[in-house]
C-alpha cells in the first residue's frame, strides 16, 4: 500500500514535541515523520533523532583538489615560457605558495558549499505537502505513512494539540 504524507500544524513547540512522542509511541519509525520549523531549534528540541552527515569530508577533498590545481597552474605557467625576471629562479616557490594557498582555500570553500547543498538533500524539485504558516512560526509535523494509518495519526496529532491536520488534496 502506498505511503502518503500527512501534515499537522502546531502553534507551539511543546505540543509538536508531544505529537512526536505520540507518533513514536504508535510505532511509527523515526524516518517517517519530520518537524518543519521556521528557525533552527536547538538540536533535540523535539526529541528527534540525531542527524548524521559527512560534511567534514568535503572541505578536505576540495582543499586537495584546489592545491593540486594551484601547483599545476603556477609551476606550468612558469615552465611553459621560462623568462628570467629579477634574477629570481624560474620556479620561485614563495610566490607559488601564495597562489597555491588561495587555490586551496577556494577549492575547500567551493566543495563545502556543494557539500551543504548535497547533505541537506537540496534542491528539492517538488516541495510536496507544505503550509505557508510554517514560516510564520507554526510548527509542522510531516508524517509519511500508509493511508490505513492516516486516521490514527490524525487523531494522535489532534489529541496532542494540532490546530489543523491536512493531507494532499
Amino acid at each position: 500500500m502506498a505511503k502518503r504524507p500527512l501534515l499537522g500544524l502546531f502553534n507551539n513547540a511543546n505540543s509538536a514535541a508531544d505529537a512526536g512522542d505520540a507518533l513514536k509511541g504508535a510505532g511509527i519509525s523515526e524516518n517517517d515523520y519530520d518537524f518543519l520549523t521556521d528557525a533552527p531549534y536547538p538540536e533535540g528540541a523535539f526529541g528527534e533523532r540525531e542527524e548524521k552527515h559527512r560534511l567534514y569530508l568535503f572541505p578536505f577533498i576540495g582543499a586537495i583538489l584546489g592545491l593540486t590545481s594551484g601547483i599545476m597552474i603556477t609551476s606550468m605557467t612558469q615552465i611553459a615560457y621560462p623568462m628570467v625576471t629579477g634574477g629570481k629562479p624560474i620556479l620561485s616557490l614563495p610566490p607559488m605558495a601564495v597562489i597555491c594557498y588561495e587555490g586551496t582555500m577556494l577549492g575547500a570553500i567551493l566543495f563545502t558549499c556543494l557539500g551543504i547543498i548535497f547533505e541537506s538533500r537540496l534542491p528539492k524539485p517538488k516541495l510536496g505537502l507544505y503550509d505557508n504558516r510554517i514560516t510564520e512560526g507554526f510548527i509542522g509535523v510531516l508524517v509519511n505513512t500508509d493511508e490505513s494509518q492516516h486516521g490514527q495519526v490524525e487523531d494522535l496529532m489532534n489529541r496532542s494539540g494540532a490546530i489543523e491536520v491536512k493531507g494532499e488534496t
Binding site: 520549523t37 531549534y41 552527515h53 605557467t77 607559488m96 594557498y101 588561495e102 587555490g103 575547500a108 551543504i116
Partner: protein
C-alpha cells in the same frame, strides 16, 4: 531584563520583509541620484580611456595616486563582512545576529567596486584580459605568478567567490520565507532560489554548521587578501617607506578597523531608513563600539611600530620620506588629521558607554575613522613615491585632478546603489537568525536581579 521586546515570527517577517514587499517612497529617488553620479563618472572614464591617463595629475615619479588609494580603501571596507560574521559566529556572540548579512553584503559590493579601480588605473584597460586570466595561448605567455599584481586577483577573486557563496547559502531559508509571502512571477523566482527548502531538522542542522564551517574557512582567506594588497607595496625595494615587513598585519588590522566602523554606520542607516529599531538596538551598536576600541588600539600599535622602524634604520632616504610625512606642509597637516580622526577622536568617544549608545555620535565616530583610513592609504602611497630616494632630479608632489576626484566619488555612489538594490530584493537582516535568537532567549534569576541569558547548544 532583556533589551528590546520579544518578537513573534510574524512580526519579524513583516518588519524585515517590508522593504521587499512594499518599496519605500524615497527608494527610487535615491537610486536616481546614485545613477546620475555614476553616469557622470562613466563618461569621465570613457574620456580618460579615449585620451589617455594624461588627464589625471599622475606624473613622474608619482605614477600611483587616487585610484590605487581608493582601491586599497575599498578592499579595506570589504574586510568588515568576514571580520564580523565569521569571528562573532565562532565566538558565539549573540549580538552578531542582525549585523552579519549587512556586513557580508557590504563586503561583496565593496570588493566589486575595489576591483574596478586597478583596471581603469592601467594605461591600456582593454588589455587587462591577459593580466589576470591565463588566456594568451597564442604566444604561450601566461601571467607572471611572481608579481603581487597577480596574487591580488587570485586572492580577491577567491574572497569574492567565497563570501558570495557564504551569503547565498545563508539566504536559502529566507528565500523560503519570501516564497511563502509572494505571488506570481516573484513567487516562482523565490521558490526556485529557495531550492525547495522545507526547514526540517536536518536542513537546519547543516545550515548552522555551514555558518560556522564557512566562517572558519573564510577567515584565512580574509587575512590573506589584505596582506597581499599590502605586498603590492611591501615588495617594492625602490620605495623605502613601502618596503617594511610589518605591512601585511598592519594593513589587515587597518582594514578591519575601517570595515567594522563602516558596518556600524551602515547598520545605523538601515535602522533609520527601514525603521528597524526593534532589531538593530543600542546594545548592538554598543557592542560594535567596544569591539572597535580593541581593533583601533591594535591598529595604533602596528602604526607606531611601522613609524618607529621607519626611522630605526637611520637611512637618509627613508628619514626624508618620514620628514615629508610628518613635518613638511601640507602633508604634515594631512598626517595630523589622519592620526586624530583614525584613532584619537573615535576611541575617545567609544570609551564612554553613553556615547556608544548615542547613534549620532557613533555615526560621526565611524565616518571619522573612514576619513582617516582613506587618508592613511594616501599618505602611505604618495609620499613614498613623491620623495624619490637618492636622485634629486626626480622629486615631485601630486594632487588629484577633477576626473580623478569624480571617479573616486562615484565609487561611493556605486556601493550605495548596489546595497540599496540588494535590500530591495533580499532581506538585509537574516530572518531565521533573529528568530533563533528569540527562541534561545531566556533569563536567570539571581535574588531580585533578572539577568538576560541564552540557551547554548554547546
Amino acid at each position: 531584563m532583556q533589551e528590546g521586546r520579544p518578537l513573534t515570527p510574524t512580526e519579524v517577517n513583516r518588519d524585515l520583509l517590508r522593504p521587499i514587499l512594499e518599496t519605500p517612497k524615497w527608494f527610487w529617488p535615491a537610486i536616481a541620484v546614485c545613477g546620475v553620479i555614476l553616469l557622470i563618472a562613466a563618461v569621465t572614464v570613457g574620456y580618460m580611456i579615449n585620451r589617455g591617463l594624461g588627464i589625471t595629475n599622475l606624473n613622474r615619479p608619482v605614477v600611483w595616486g587616487f585610484f590605487i588609494t581608493n582601491f586599497v580603501f575599498w578592499i579595506g571596507i570589504s574586510h568588515a563582512g568576514v571580520m564580523l560574521s565569521a569571528i562573532l559566529r565562532l565566538a558565539k556572540a549573540e549580538w552578531r545576529r542582525p549585523a552579519t548579512r549587512a556586513a557580508e553584503v557590504l563586503t561583496i559590493f565593496s570588493l566589486m567596486t575595489a576591483m574596478t579601480m586597478p583596471i581603469i588605473h592601467t594605461g591600456r584597460p582593454w588589455r587587462i584580459l591577459y593580466w589576470a586570466f591565463p588566456y594568451d595561448f597564442a604566444r604561450g605567455i601566461w601571467p607572471n605568478v611572481r608579481t603581487p599584481l597577480i596574487w591580488d586577483p587570485s586572492a580577491i577573486l577567491t574572497y569574492l567567490t567565497s563570501s558570495t557563496l557564504f551569503v547565498v547559502i545563508a539566504l536559502v531559508p529566507d528565500f523560503a520565507v519570501l516564497r511563502d509571502r509572494t505571488t506570481g512571477i516573484s513567487h516562482q523566482i523565490y521558490s526556485l532560489l529557495s531550492l525547495g527548502w522545507q526547514g526540517n531538522p536536518r536542513q537546519w542542522k547543516l545550515q548552522v554548521i555551514a555558518g560556522v564551517l564557512l566562517s572558519a574557512l573564510i577567515l584565512p582567506v580574509f587575512v590573506s587578501v589584505h596582506s597581499i594588497v599590502s605586498w603590492d607595496f611591501g615588495m617594492a625595494v625602490a620605495v623605502k617607506s613601502w618596503h617594511s615587513t610589518i605591512f601585511a598585519p598592519y594593513f589587515v588590522v587597518g582594514a578591519v578597523h575601517s570595515g567594522v566602523s563602516a558596518v556600524a554606520f551602515v547598520l545605523i542607516l538601515l535602522r533609520w531608513a527601514y525603521g528597524w529599531q526593534a532589531y538593530i538596538r543600542h546594545e548592538h551598536i554598543d557592542a560594535l563600539g567596544r569591539l572597535l576600541v580593541v581593533v583601533a588600539t591594535g591598529w595604533f600599535y602596528f602604526f607606531v611600530m611601522e613609524v618607529i622602524f621607519g626611522i630605526y634604520g637611520r637611512e637618509a632616504d627613508e628619514i626624508a620620506v618620514r620628514a615629508l610625512q610628518f613635518t613638511i606642509w601640507p602633508i604634515s597637516a594631512w598626517t595630523f588629521i589622519f592620526v586624530v580622526t583614525t584613532y584619537f577622536i573615535p576611541v575617545a568617544l567609544w570609551l564612554s558607554r553613553s556615547a556608544r549608545r548615542n547613534l549620532w555620535i557613533m555615526s560621526i565616530a565611524c565616518i571619522s575613522v573612514n576619513i582617516g583610513m582613506w587618508l592613511e592609504r594616501f599618505l602611505i602611497i604618495v609620499p613614498g613615491l613623491a620623495n624619490r630616494q637618492v636622485f634629486t632630479f626626480t622629486w615631485n608632489m601630486y594632487s588629484p585632478s577633477i576626473p580623478e576626484i569624480i571617479i573616486v566619488t562615484a565609487t561611493f555612489a556605486l556601493v550605495t546603489m548596489l546595497m540599496l538594490l540588494f535590500s530591495r530584493v533580499f532581506p538585509l537582516i537574516p530572518l531565521y537568525d533573529i528568530k533563533e535568537g528569540e527562541i534561545l532567549k531566556t533569563e536567570i534569576q539571581i535574588g531580585r536581579r533578572v539577568v538576560p541569558a541564552t540557551y547554548r547548544e554547546d
